[in-house]
């Protein structure tokens, strides 16, 4: 008697776990990681090398950082029923700004390579972040005050932004030679990539703002019904503006990481199609594009899924021609299993099974 109630309780707990919104994204991530493990026995191996951790998982964390930053910035935007398709272009602008300002020349003096930056690094970093913030404010103003639809408002900067980035770099790939700058995207702190701490900081800040202030409530209220939230006394315009500004700022930060990691800025390719990856990361994490509900952790898992997927296609030897198809199939499967229709089907199936017993 006692035993049956125990297993019943466990089953109920298991069912509750399976119904948790983060269950499916996590399952997808774990499945991908195990798939990698099946092809490469050293996949989970992490060794300490030159004082920092080194391994596939660290690579994935490091590589996913820029996308995670952009997607975290995008999450509140989507929660207000908006979207920002300009983030890829903002990444390119910020990377270009930093690269042009830092630039640096390589002088070979007596066979020794020495490097100098054009302006102090702190100025360049602040300028790049400032440019990102400015882009976000521009988007926010168009959406909140001019009243344009978010996708159209941000489309302007998506198209124009890459042009601005190319103007900044004069259409060239600007190589950065200033060593200290490389720490941002390729350096290590306490054995982990520095970029990971940046993501953790942004996540922590957002988490605190959403859970310990009323901001999270306000944002979801705007997403559920912007007009009603206004009647309820929420300053919808100001909050919307801030949400877009933050999105621009985090895209700017991602631009810094990317340019620092490959030691150059490429106006054409930096952050190309990143807006779509970011939206995908947010949706994979269970945030609805309809607004009114969001999950920061879900977004982080979404970004990790996308990066793991990319990594998988490289390491298990998917032919380059088939890469995008493989990605599309995985994304399709994850999205479909998360859809309400499929969830209802699964629940009905389970109920008939349990009813029949």
């Amino acid at each position: 008697m006692n035993q049956t109630s125990n297993t019943g309780g466990m089953r109920a707990r298991g069912a509750a776990l399976a119904r948790h919104p983060l269950f499916l994204p996590l399952l997808a991530l774990v499945a991908l990681l195990l798939l990698n493990r099946a092809f490469n026995p050293h996949f989970f191996q992490i060794v300490n090398q030159d004082g920092h951790w080194f391994g596939s998982l660290i690579d994935i964390l490091n590589r996913a950082s820029p996308l995670a930053l952009v997607a975290l910035g995008m999450t509140p935007v989507i929660a207000t029923r908006g979207v920002d398709v300009s983030v890829g272009a903002v990444v390119a602008i910020s990377a270009a700004t930093a690269a042009v300002l830092i630039g640096g020349q390589m002088h070979i003096v007596n066979g020794v390579e020495t490097y100098a930056s054009n302006v102090p690094m702190s100025v360049a970093i602040l300028a790049a972040l400032g440019v990102g913030l400015l882009c976000g404010l521009w988007n926010g103003t168009l959406v909140a005050w001019v009243g344009m639809q978010p996708i159209i408002a941000t489309l302007i900067l998506m198209v124009a932004g890459r042009g601005i980035a190319q103007l900044l770099t004069a259409g060239q790939i600007v190589t950065i030679y200033y060593q200290p700058y490389f720490y941002l995207g390729a350096g290590y702190l306490f054995g982990l990539p520095f970029a990971v701490y940046l993501v953790a900081a942004v996540l922590g800040l957002l988490w605190w703002l959403m859970k310990h202030t009323a901001l999270g409530l306000f944002i979801t209220a705007i997403g559920i019904n912007p007009v009603a939230s206004g009647f309820a006394g929420i300053k919808a315009r100001t909050i919307t503006l801030c949400v877009y500004a933050f999105c621009g700022l985090s895209a700017g930060l991602a631009g810094l990481l990317i340019s620092s990691n490959v030691k150059s800025a490429d106006g054409n390719n930096a952050g190309l199609l990143m807006e779509l990856d970011a939206i995908l990361a947010v949706t994979l994490g269970g945030t609805s594009l309809g607004g009114g509900h969001f999950s920061l952790i879900g977004t982080l898992i979404g970004a990790l899924i996308i990066q793991t997927l990319t990594y998988t296609t490289y390491s298990i030897g998917v032919p380059p021609e088939a890469n995008l198809v493989v990605k599309a199939i995985v994304v399709f499967v994850v999205c479909v299993t998360q859809s309400d229709v499929v969830k209802k089907l699964v629940i009905r199936e389970r109920m008939t099974l349990e009813g029949g017993r």
Partner: protein, 344 residues
Amino acid sequence: MASPNRMHQISAGPTYIQLESKMMQKSKRNVLAALMIAAGVVLCSAGAQAADKLVLGFAQVGAESEWRTANTESVKSSAKEAGVELKFSDAQQKQENQIKAIRSYIAQKVDVIAFSPVVESGWEPVLREAKAAKIPVILTDRAVKVSDDSLYTSFIGSDFLEEGRRGGRWLADHYKGVTGPIAIAELQGTVGSAPAIDRHNGLIEVIKSDDRFKIIASQSGDFTRAGGKQVMEAFLKSHAKEINVVYAHNDDMAIGAIQAIEEAGLKPGKDIIVVSFDATKGGFQAMMAGKMNVSVECSPLLGPQLMETAKLVAAGKPVPKRIVTKETVYPMETAAAAFPSRKY
């Protein structure tokens, strides 16, 4: 209410015709004036050929690498030197943009169209449009696959297959007398592009008869540094300590791969041999630092040859169907000596 409207429409008829004829007269006068001015210019410049400047529409792939930037620079500067009016467009590595640009050149009735096709296939319709408009097309740097060779006039550029063979031969030479196996990781260029296909095939051609060499991993890094680095990071983990050689289809990907190799605690150029293509400045710097073993040159400086050919084509003179650019191989030992004279 209806009748005045109709009246107006009826009366409008002749007015339009009058307007049209007036405009025609005006445009005739304009043409005459232009002809007179042109004649004057020809007379004044005493036979200088500047009167009818050759207009060349050039549809560039993009600015994906240092190589491409040097190529753009060469085309622009040699157009200026040759007195050719250049209409330049950047397709940002998208075929649809390139087709759009070529269509706009056809609409603008330029004298000659030149372009570097981003991929090999899918050019037939737009090339037919150019042929129908009687505008000769010159391909630069990359070839196209078409059923009818008369769709383009000439192809100026490197022989990528030969470049691939050169890379392969350098490897065979480097590993002379060494017993295998020698594991090669290949970083391919943009999927479907001519250099990616031919540099791969050129390597295969050389190493297929030598069973010491084996390509253990091959993936596209899209000709970019970020791509090369990311792919190499994954290779280094999935084929830990197996890779002997990185065969990168261009210098930018090789530079990305070198960063990944260094971050893995290995020495590029020693622990892992780096074979690359293009011989750009970045590549030379890597070679001088001892991190890249060889770069097979692929010269982007084909601007002067392009202008020369464009002028011949526009003048209706015959040109060779295939013009190969002059190129060589730079092993790292020769890098320092050759570096000062490098233009890209």
